[in-house]
């Protein structure tokens, strides 16, 4: 589904990613862990198509297509979704209207008609119930004045609405209390199938107790320096990242 080959990316001539290789197949859950500043969020942004970053070497292949030339919205239309570490506040646009626009634009791009209003309402009701989101919340301006936890829950609500093939969750656990973490993780697990994949980017292991990864990768200095089964996450939690740094440095 996703194949990243020797990916190098920089921002303002500063190299951040220095040769990433990663393959994600349908049905898999991958976790990318690493210390602050290792390039985790950059990797997420580059995959999603943020234009501030320049890919200087290597490529990203999604569903068999090199996506370098594709704009962020085209990647979304192909089934990619990025849950933001810091969701942006957009005053004046309600959650509902934002979702309607996003869904209908994606449908338009796929040559489909707009979703009938009745179906849209039903979908919104269904998905908001799954994530235990209050209806009143949906008429509020997008992310404006939301608590950290509300923002993250709203990200997963959007993911549920858009039903992506590949979801990248960037630090989705930060700012969540235990209950919210459980709701969000349940949401993600319910959306999982043999046809889609999830990449969880996190600093800590606690989200991975709920969303159990098939593979764990450690990112350090813009490179994946270690990959392993889910137990690797526990090891990192216990020992921290220093031993990895030493291992790499040695």
């Amino acid at each position: 589904m996703l194949k990243i080959n020797n990916l190098h990316a920089s921002v303002e001539d500063k190299g951040i990613l220095r040769g990433i290789n990663l393959e994600v197949k349908p049905g898999e859950v991958h976790a990318i862990m690493g210390p602050n500043g290792s390039g985790k969020s950059t990797l997420a942004s580059v995959i999603a198509g943020r234009e501030d970053y320049e890919v200087t070497e290597g490529n990203i292949v999604f569903e068999g297509e090199d996506i370098e030339e594709l704009a962020a919205e085209e990647r979304a239309h192909k089934g990619m979704f990025l849950s933001f570490q810091y969701p942006v506040e957009i005053p004046g646009v309600s959650v509902t209207n934002f979702m309607k626009t996003a869904i209908n634009e994606s449908r338009k791009a796929r040559g489909l008609d707009e979703m009938p209003a009745k179906d849209m309402l039903k979908l919104i009701r269904e998905k908001s119930e799954m994530l235990e989101i209050d209806r009143k919340f949906l008429s509020r301006s997008l992310n404006e004045g939301f608590s950290g936890g509300e923002k993250k829950r709203n990200e997963i609500f959007q993911m549920a609405m858009l039903e992506p093939k590949l979801a990248i969750l960037d630090e989705t656990d930060s700012g969540l209390d235990i209950d919210a973490l459980r709701i969000v993780a349940n949401g993600v697990n319910k959306l999982k199938s043999k046809d889609n994949a999830v990449v969880v980017i996190t600093h800590y292991q606690r989200l991975l107790d709920h969303i159990v990864p098939d593979y764990v990768h450690v990112l350090h200095n813009g490179k994946i320096v270690k990959s392993g089964p889910k137990e690797l996450a526990h090891e990192l939690e216990e020992k921290g990242y220093d031993w990895i740094k030493e291992e790499v440095g040695a």
Binding site: A48, A76, F81, L82, V88, P91, G92, N97, T101, A109
Partner: protein, 437 residues
């Protein structure tokens, strides 16, 4: 012969041609003297520092339309708010079109200025109100000198006018260049309520210059909501001079939607003569190409316990330019005044420019006055956020612009009008957004 000379020399023939009482005659004669003395304003004047009329004054305008032109409703239906029942006062090249209009004398007067100026039954109102709010600046004086036609609206006390009133000035472009000088008088008596929508629309690409004066009198506890739709062709220019006198406890709002035209200058002046008055001035400006829009506002707080709220949003693309010059005067007696002013702008092109200048003159010591202006670009991280959810760049940009101007749109009290403005904006931004904000 330049435009000023042409106007001055044609005044006498004009004055002799209109059948009017002596009061209006004197007002006109005085006004032409003011115009003759002052001439058109130049950039040397502080209030005109950022707006030059030179490019629009050089046309050879026809000052009086030579022939009467007719329009059929289907041709111009799209310029009306046609999905609701309204009164209509419609002009074609400065002449009243009874065919397109729907006036009334049933308890209220929604009719013509020419009738009000010439018929004895309106004489008292004319003498009490006509030219009593307009300033003696050169452009208003010019309009006064040639004032003949426009809308005349008089709402006697305790009337809630159920239907909005539309005033539309069409120009057919049958002359190579046309100058129009509509003159509106609106008097709303005690406890009455009226909603008015005004629009200027040219139908060809021939140049049009409109120098309009509107006087609005809101008496005790009157409520007036006035909406200006400025979405004209880029060969049409508009100088809109609006003067509003408010008596105690009246509420007046003016919304100005400036999307079109070559050059648009809005001189919007509020005078508060009484306590507990509320004045609202809101605007959305969205322009591109080489368009120019100038909002020049004045709120004069004269008595205690009054409020004013100004909120202007501007989005400027290409090489367009904008001006916001908002003056608030708080007299010494006007204690407990609350005056708010905000002007927020987005420049979507690095060739576009906005000059924004708040001007506060406060002589009272117990007041709350605030002003703020911002100039920025569209938020790039918000753009990426929306695009990553599948909203294309153009639509994402439009959505952000809608969101930016939303609180002004929100305060439009006629739903059909709000919908129309939303459509005009979507059209202007080149998007088809699947929902109404």
């Amino acid at each position: 012969m330049d435009l000023k000379e042409k106007l001055v020399s044609s005044f006498l023939a004009f004055e002799n041609s209109v059948d009017v009482d002596t009061y209006a005659h004197d007002v006109r004669s005085n006004a032409i003297k003011i115009f003759e003395e002052k001439g058109f304003p130049s950039k040397k004047e502080e209030a005109w520092k950022y707006t030059s009329l030179n490019s629009i004054l050089k046309e050879d305008y026809s000052v009086f339309p030579k022939q009467e032109n007719a329009l059929e409703y289907p041709q111009v239906k799209k310029y009306f708010i046609h999905d609701i029942d309204t009164y209509k006062i419609i002009f074609i090249d400065g002449k009243y079109s009874s065919h397109l209009s729907q006036t009334t004398h049933d308890g209220i007067d929604v009719c013509l200025m020419s009738a009000a100026l010439s018929k004895p039954k309106y004489q008292l109102i004319i003498e009490n109100y006509f030219n009593k709010a307009a300033e003696k600046d050169s452009l208003s004086a010019l309009n006064t000198a040639f004032s003949q036609e426009g809308a005349y609206i008089h709402i006697p006390k305790n009337k809630v006018v159920e239907k909005p009133i539309q005033i539309i000035h069409f120009s057919t472009g049958n002359e190579s260049a046309t100058m129009l000088q509509p003159r509106n008088l609106i008097v709303v008596d005690e406890n009455s309520h009226v909603q008015i929508i005004e629009r200027h629309q040219s139908l060809t690409d021939n140049p049009v210059l409109t120098n309009s004066v509107t006087e609005i009198f809101a008496n005790k506890r009157a409520i007036v909501d006035y909406y200006k739709i400025q979405n004209d062709k880029e060969t049409a220019s508009l100088i809109d001079n609006t003067f509003i006198k408010q008596k105690r406890e009246s509420l007046v709002s003016v919304h100005t939607f400036a999307f079109g035209g070559k050059l648009t200058r809005n001189n919007l002046n509020f005078y508060q003569n009484g306590e507990r008055i509320d004045s609202t001035l809101k605007g959305i400006t969205i322009i591109g190409n080489k368009q120019h829009v100038d909002h020049n506002t004045l709120v004069h707080h004269i008595e205690p316990n009054c409020e004013s709220h100004q909120d202007y949003k501007g989005i400027f693309g290409d090489r367009s330019t904008g001006v916001f010059n908002g003056k608030v005067v708080v007299e010494k007696e006007a204690q407990k005044t609350n005056a708010f002013q905000a002007n927020n702008n987005i420049l979507v092109s690095d060739k576009a420019a906005i000059n924004t200048k708040p001007q506060l003159e406060i002589f009272a010591d117990d007041v709350k006055c605030s002003h703020g202006c911002t100039i920025g670009q569209l938020d790039e991280s918000a753009m990426f956020y929306m695009r990553s959810r599948g909203i294309p760049e153009k639509e994402a940009r439009a959505l952000l612009m809608f969101a930016f101007s939303n609180n002004v749109l929100e305060s439009v009290k006629i739903p059909e009008l709000k919908q129309r403005i939303t459509k005009i904006i979507a059209n202007k931004l080149g998007v088809n957004i699947g929902f109404d904000l």
